[in-house]
């Protein structure tokens, strides 16, 4: 069968940034990859292995936008990408970026789907037909008039899938697209792709030997090449930290939590002014010292909203959040839970007691070097310079950060996420919320991150769509649907997903 995508002997090195002494290392050193029509190929790789660059090379964006030393050949359906503009490649290859916000262009969901079809000069009736078809396929019909910026992370990725499905290129390049998508939709998206008979190059930070019944094992991107030999795959995946296995020195089994409640929720409600269809209502929830609580649920069910309430960024419209145990019915603290007086927490108190690690690390990174970024919070806390230097060095080692003089914007997404976590680790808050921290991180990074935060006096709220991570790291799993905590079996919810579990 004639290959659809053929990459042969690809060498690529980014150009040296001006005003820096950093000499870039070659990213690809003779990379080869062949994907046939309709083939579903997953390529797993650690952060900084070049997944995003590979996706952008295949779609004609790199080196066009970045410059750099590019050698080798990449052809799609016989077209050499070096001779075609990205616009001209649109009917042949579609790409979904890792960060969906970077790719949304319009102010309405249906307009977003229509945009590339308008570029192709399709007649209005055909555009309307395809928009309607993809809105229905990806269950976005009820959101057709909404601003894409107002959708949840998973909904945005579904919308981007709908955009590609409307164009219908024979090759889809998905950069960590299943991250942030709930298990049911992970499986459905894979199903839709197979139904459309599209060839898929899916880039992922996690290695799972079998994914949603796909016949082929994932390849691994490491050392500038793609490993395809089946004997070495598992070994390489373990070495790169892409599989969920216990590594020496890493404690993953946690003792059963019996600590006192650090934060409690009682009869809390919250609604958005501009989204009347959604209401969060949590009757009761406790986070205890020493425990890791996983919060799971479909996209848009309110997990991030609950997290933002817990850290004081949103104010409940009804009910309370307590630092410590919630008071009993008579307003008295429940004695068997209480080690500290119940305190209905003001937003300011919550903000300074809870560490909330945002889905997007760039919100929290703004200083020119890793050192300054790590030291900022400690300086604000008036810690002595010598102590700051010691703790910054320790954090950099623990979170495997690059040299302290590195500029964060030049670091990979995964490294920036580790930097963000290190910033909060230094602040030493009693409650830590990891909002989809597994997105864009290798499994080893995630393991190390959770272990760094885990302690007998701290509680961790871990928001994830991965049942494997939930079972591995957490003491309890709580499932949310439509803004409420349900009694449903989380195992059933996760089993709807792909075999990343």
């Amino acid at each position: 069968m004639k290959p659809l995508l053929e990459i042969s002997d690809l060498h690529f090195t980014y150009p040296q940034y001006t005003d820096t002494d950093i000499t870039p290392e070659p990213l690809f050193r003779g990379l080869d990859l062949i994907i046939g029509p309709g083939e579903f190929r997953i390529v797993a790789g650690a952060p900084e292995s070049g997944k995003t660059t590979l996706s952008r090379i295949v779609s004609g964006l790199v080196p066009r936008y970045t410059g750099g030393d590019f050698r080798g050949s990449v052809t799609i359906g016989g077209t050499d990408i070096a001779e075609a503009k990205p616009q001209e490649l649109m009917p042949k290859v579609g790409v979904i970026f890792q960060n969906p916000d970077e790719q949304l262009l319009t102010t309405r969901v249906d307009s977003e789907i229509a945009f590339p079809l308008e570029s192709l000069c399709l007649p209005r009736s055909e555009i309307a037909h395809r928009v309607q078809r993809e809105l229905e396929r990806f269950e976005l019909s009820g959101m057709a008039e909404r601003n894409p910026a107002s959708l949840s992370g998973g909904e945005k990725k579904r919308l981007l899938c709908a955009v590609l499905a409307a164009v219908g290129p024979p090759l889809w390049v998905l950069d960590e697209t299943l991250d942030e998508i709930d298990p049911r939709w992970q499986r459905r998206i894979i199903g839709h792709l197979r139904e459309m008979k599209a060839a898929v190059l899916m880039l992922s930070s996690k290695y799972a030997p079998e994914v949603a019944g796909l016949p082929d094992r994932p390849y691994i991107l490491a050392g500038g090449r793609i490993m395809t030999s089946s004997e070495k795959l598992t070994e390489t995946a373990e070495r790169e930290g892409l599989v969920l296995r216990q590594s020496p020195g890493t404690r993953v089994a946690a003792p059963a939590p019996n600590g006192h409640p650090l934060i409690s929720v009682q009869d809390m409600e919250y609604s958005y002014r501009d989204n009347a269809g959604f209401k969060l209502a949590v009757e009761e929830l406790e986070l205890r010292a020493g425990e890791v609580l996983t919060l799971a649920g479909p996209n848009g069910c309110g997990k991030t909203t609950l997290a933002k309430l817990l850290c004081g960024l949103y104010r409940p419209s009804r009910g309370s959040i307590f630092l410590g145990p919630a008071p009993g019915p008579a307003g008295k603290p429940q004695p068997h839970l209480s080690t500290a007086p119940a305190l209905s927490a003001a937003s300011g108190t919550l903000r300074t007691s809870v560490a909330y690690i945002f889905q997007n690390p760039d919100y929290q990174i703004f200083l020119p070097t890793v050192r300054e970024e790590l030291a900022y919070g400690l300086k604000e806390h008036h810690v002595k310079s010598s102590e700051i230097e010691r703790r910054v060095t320790e954090a950099a080692r623990l979170f495997r950060l690059p040299p302290l003089d590195t500029a964060p914007p030049l670091m990979s997404y995964g490294s920036r996420k580790r930097l963000q976590a290190a910033v909060y680790w230094l602040l030493d808050r009693p409650v830590v919320i990891l909002d989809e921290a597994d997105s864009g991180l290798a499994i080893r990074d995630l393991l190390e991150l959770i272990e760094a935060f885990r302690s007998g006096s701290r509680a961790i709220l871990f928001i994830t769509h991965s049942g494997a991570f939930a079972r591995r790291f957490s003491d309890r799993i709580v499932l949310m649907r439509n803004g409420r905590i349900t009694d449903e079996d989380a195992g059933v919810f996760f089993s709807e997903g792909t075999s990343y579990d």
Partner: protein, 257 residues
């Protein structure tokens, strides 16, 4: 913000052709800009306020004013000493004198700003961005220019939302005791700065990715594009001209009343 101002509805203005509304918006804005006595500008402003009340409700008079109140306050404070004439009401220093001419000028500017903002608010409250862009293109605006406007509408609110997210993220990094300290404007300003730097980093980083996103969606593939969403059927040109003439007549009437 403009892109989030639109509320679907069935009012007369919602049902009016966006091209006609755009024409009337230009007329009304011109009326505010033409040098006129304060009483005339007040009538124009009241005209807009009545129109808001009749179409989308009286409570919608206030949101546009709320969005520009710092500018209005600044105008009220700064304008009087630069326009001296007529009765002097009071003076604070030798150069800061408040006279009748100063108050009239300040009122004129306040009404002008309020009127233009309210007129635009009413337009965007009753017209979706898509309809607005299509109307501009109907009047001959090239597609590329229309796209620039669309992207501006997409990104300006996003930047504001981004600034909010970044400020939230930074707030969570600050020390516990800070909120108990006395209010310190210098310190407060110093906290705004990191947020602005982060927004700038994001914005600069988003330039190439936005450009990439446009190209992989086929922007620039050819000089032609089709439109997914049509404008409503064109009312007869005679009817549109008639409505525009009536509005012009009302404006002239308000001027000479």
């Amino acid at each position: 913000m403009i892109s989030t101002a639109f509320r679907p509805g069935t009012s007369l203005l919602h049902r009016t052709d966006p091209r006609l509304k755009l024409l009337l918006l230009v007329l009304w804005t011109a009326a505010f800009i033409i040098p006129s006595p304060v009483a005339v500008i007040l009538r124009y402003y009241l005209g807009v306020a009545v129109l808001i009340t009749l179409t989308i409700g009286a409570k919608e008079i206030f949101p546009p004013l709320k969005s520009i109140w710092p500018i209005l306050l600044l105008v009220i404070l700064i304008t009087p000493p630069f326009h001296i004439g007529g009765t002097e009401y009071f003076r604070i220093t030798e150069w800061y004198r408040v006279t009748r001419a100063g108050i009239e000028e300040a009122l004129t500017l306040v009404l002008r700003f309020s009127g233009i903002t309210s007129a635009f608010f009413l337009f965007f409250r009753t017209t979706s961005i898509d309809q607005f862009i299509l109307s501009l293109r109907w009047y001959g605006l090239p597609y590329n220019a229309a796209l620039v406007i669309t992207i501006a509408f997409r990104y300006i609110p996003s930047l504001i939302q981004l600034y909010g997210n970044i400020q939230d993220a930074h707030t969570l990094r600050r020390p516990p005791l800070e909120r108990k300290r006395r209010y310190n404007p210098v310190r407060k300003f110093s906290h705004i700065f990191p947020g602005i730097v982060s927004v700038m980093i994001h914005s600069i980083k988003s330039i190439p990715t936005l450009s990439m996103a446009l190209e992989i969606r086929g922007f620039g593939l050819s000089g032609q594009r089709t439109d997914y969403r049509p404008l409503p059927p064109l009312l007869s040109r005679l009817f549109q001209c008639g409505i525009a003439l009536i509005v012009l007549f009302i404006l002239v009437l308000l001027y000479f009343l």
